[in-house]
């Protein structure tokens, strides 16, 4: 039994036939990292949002199921769902700048959830926050907890968001492009930190990204999306030694690789796009 099991998930814009997800199935085992890759518009962020129940109001789920530790999320009442999601999952967002409230100190932004949802005492939560900041290698936790977001660098803020994601020991974390907004030189440290924390806490991690370099470093499994359709679901090992699907092969060849400049950054051939688009159209004919 997988910790997260998404089966045949479909979504579209409300009241239209514009499909966003086309029968997406994927699993994340406990303690495993799955990369969700695709270009903009492929629907990769949508899946994470559907799991957390934070889809925009204009989008509706038209079918499928999301099992979290055996519980079907899509049939729960909103209140029950919120409680379950709040207690067992967390999100590492893309933009560390907007994800923290600029007018509140860091400390309470980490501890709020522990106190409000999990019923911890204020002092226990404060102690936990200090411990967490120490774990994400922030050297003077007491000062940082009393600081406001604008006093900290982007990398520092992302560390805080990581700490905050792990605060309640969630069983599943969804990371939505967590390093895209960061400076290149900070990106690697943050990725290593996420990988270390994930391994130490044994958390299941769904890692949404457009960067195959990132996937290669942190993920064991990978799902490649195109037009809301999963075109390949395989292990990272297998993917990076030889992707099976033509589109995912072309995506890998389009990724920069300085060790082999001639065979990287190759535009995706039109024929490959036509073929994968044909798969999407075939799905639409099969599933009206």
């Amino acid at each position: 039994m997988s910790f997260l099991q998404v089966t045949n998930l479909s979504a579209r814009i409300k009241g239209s036939d514009h499909r966003l997800l086309r029968g997406v199935s994927l699993t994340v085992e406990a303690g495993e990292v799955r990369g969700l890759v695709g270009e903009s518009g492929a629907g990769k962020s949508m899946i994470g949002k559907a799991i957390l129940g934070i889809l925009p109001r204009a989008i509706e789920i038209t079918g499928g199921s999301i099992l979290l530790n055996g519980t079907e999320l899509l049939t729960l009442s909103p209140a029950e769902r919120r409680r379950l999601i709040g207690a067992s999952t967390a999100l590492i967002p893309q933009d560390p700048l907007t994800a923290l409230n600029p007018s509140r100190r860091i400390g309470p932004q980490i501890t709020d959830r522990l106190v409000d949802i999990l019923g911890w005492s204020r002092s226990a939560a404060d102690a936990r926050a200090t411990e967490l900041l120490d774990e994400v290698q922030i050297t003077d936790p007491t000062r940082v907890l009393r600081a406001y977001p604008h006093e900290l660098s982007g990398g520092m803020r992302q560390r805080i968001l990581i700490a905050s994601a792990f605060a309640a020991e969630p069983k599943l974390i969804i990371a939505d492009e967590p390093t895209t907004a960061l400076d290149v030189t900070v990106q690697k440290q943050i990725l290593k930190l996420i990988a270390t924390m994930q391994a130490r806490h044994g958390t299941a991690l769904l890692f949404v990204t457009h960067d195959l370099g990132v996937v290669a470093k942190v993920c064991q499994k990978i799902s490649v999306l195109y037009g809301g359709l999963v075109v390949e679901d395989t292990t990272a090992e297998a993917y990076f030694t030889g992707p099976a699907h033509a589109y995912s092969r072309a995506l890998l060849a389009a990724t920069p690789k300085y060790t082999n400049p001639e065979a990287s950054l190759l535009p995706i051939p039109d024929a490959v796009i036509a073929a994968v688009q044909a798969d999407v159209d075939a799905y639409d004919r099969r599933v009206p």
Binding site: E39, V184, T185, L191, L212, F240, Y258, P261, L265, P267
Partner: protein, 267 residues
């Protein structure tokens, strides 16, 4: 080979408005601190650096969007460092810039045709609409894009309009500032190979600014590494990758995540 662009002792400081006192001038932050280099005709030079290295400021100074505080910029033998906007105008046709964010660098309320023809009309180019169509073809966008507005296109298509606008004037020199960093992998590859082809076909000289050494490796003959406003390395591409000399270069190299399992993770 003759130098098309020669930069000597370039300094640039800007007022730091965040720390401006209530009364009086804001303190100035030094962004470029004595930069020297030259770009020969037909060369493709990569300028690389992390955030805060001053690479975007340098890009804007090369096309005189900013005026240097000290030092000189010679373009084709002429000192343009302190030319007035009016004196620069006739020269502007010869050096163009492609911007990082194609959404903000294209006027949202103009059509693609207006965006490309605008600069042509300013320089009294004959038959601007023919030239516009030519440029659209050159960047692989069909004529049907002429009537579209920027928001009706994808990021990659918008960036191609940015390129079309720059090449339509038939300049000698183009500065490309992080032009693929906001694009998807596939558009990134497309835009780069397009640029590579255009540079060869049109005999352009190119300064390609990026934070990503992998991208630069593919395109450039020579790499200039900028760190905290100073050039720390200026060498042929292969040399920079094989025997990086500066710590900043090594740090940038180490920050690259290769799409391979395991290989470079534990460094």
């Amino acid at each position: 080979m003759t130098d098309l662009l020669r930069i000597t002792g370039l300094h640039l400081s800007l007022p730091d408005l965040n720390r401006k006192p209530l009364i009086g001038a804001a303190p100035r932050i030094h962004i470029l601190k004595g930069v020297d280099f030259a770009i020969a005709k037909g060369e493709i030079v990569g300028i690389v650096g992390g955030s805060g290295s001053g690479k975007s400021t340098l890009a804007r100074t090369l096309v005189r969007l900013l005026e240097p505080s000290a030092g000189t910029i010679h373009f084709d033998g002429q000192d343009i460092s302190h030319l007035s906007e009016a004196a620069l105008r006739p020269l502007r046709r010869r050096f163009q810039m492609i911007f990082q964010d194609p959404m903000s660098s294209l006027n949202p309320r103009h059509t693609v045709a207006q965006i490309i023809e605008g600069p042509l009309a300013l320089h009294d180019v004959a038959n601007p609409s023919d030239r516009m169509r030519e440029a659209l073809d050159a960047v692989g966008l069909g004529q049907r894009f002429a009537t579209r507005h920027p928001h009706q296109m994808s990021g990659g298509q918008r960036q191609r309009v940015g390129i079309a606008r720059a090449i339509a004037l038939r300049p000698d020199f183009i500065v490309a500032d992080e032009i693929v960093s906001g694009l998807d992998v596939s558009s990134q590859a497309q835009v780069l190979s397009l640029l590579e082809r255009l540079v060869a076909d049109l005999g352009l000289t190119l300064a390609f600014i990026s934070h990503d050494l992998s991208v630069i490796r593919r395109l450039c003959n020579r790499i200039i590494v900028l760190d905290k406003g100073v050039i720390v390395e200026n060498a042929p591409s292969a040399e920079v990758f094989d025997t990086p000399k500066a710590a900043a270069t090594r740090e940038l190299l180490a920050s690259i995540l290769l799409p391979e399992v395991g290989a470079d993770w534990q460094t």
